[in-house]
Amino acid sequence: MATASEERRKAFEREALPHLDAVYRVALRLSGGEAQADDLTQETMLKAYRSWHQYKTGTNVRAWLLTILRHTFINQYRKAKRAGPTVDIGEIESYSIFHDVQEVDPEGAFFKQIVDDEVLRAIDSLPDEFRETLVLSDIEQLSYAEIAEITGVPVGTVKSRLFRARQALQKLLYDYAVEMGYIQEVKK
């Protein structure tokens, strides 16, 4: 007969482990470094395993894991200084880059010339609350309600953070593309 700990292990393997990649991807963007992401992921999974009895079968296990991840990050990692610079999102105008480029590149083909690492670097330079919202939405494709649950803010706040984070990211990537000569700067 299976013991209680074997049952737990099986249930955890079946339900939680398939979300390991998602936990790792979010850990990577929150912590900003591979070694830290490894530790943060492991710690999250360990906490989740130990409190598995608190997880309600049939509810959203991915959101539950990401909530644990976020708490772990805030309590233990956020104090450590992040490697890269953080942009001041208040300095970035909230409007679509489309309005600047529609005459020369209405489909935004210039984005496709930007290498992956540069895209990730731009995401990493967003302030914490904007970065986590964008990562949960645009990398992990969670719903606004799930993001609100994980980050502990109202859906309206998720909406406005996502709006500003996306527009800031567009601006950062556009500036980079101009610098690299992928697109000519359009003078306003």
């Binding site: 209680a4 790792y24 395993y49 679509s96 209405p106 984005f111 895209v119 990730l120 645009d138 990211l169």
Partner: protein, 87 residues
């Protein structure tokens, strides 16, 4: 079905991300869709934003947890015999 409530360009732009994310009520979704059909500049903006979001997703999604981490979690979390069973 009743005709959707008409909205202006400003509102369409404000609702655009919610529209593309599938987060609007059916009524508001219909209003945005009708506006985009009728308004070329807003349609252009919508196509641009749609391709930006799919670009973003495609470029960031590939990462997976490395093998050494999977192994570590399997060994240290699932078979962590030193850890108390009931906390």
């Amino acid at each position: 079905m009743s005709t959707p409530e008409p909205i202006d360009c400003h509102e369409a732009a404000e609702r655009l991300y919610e529209y593309l994310d599938g987060e609007l009520t059916p009524q508001m979704e219909a209003s945005v869709r009708e506006h985009l059909k009728a308004c070329a500049p807003c349609f252009g903006l919508s196509e641009f934003e749609k391709s930006f979001l799919s670009f973003l997703h495609a470029r960031t999604r590939a990462r997976q947890a490395p093998e050494h981490l999977k192994k570590r979690i399997f060994e240290q979390v699932l078979f962590d015999r030193g850890s108390p069973e009931n906390e």
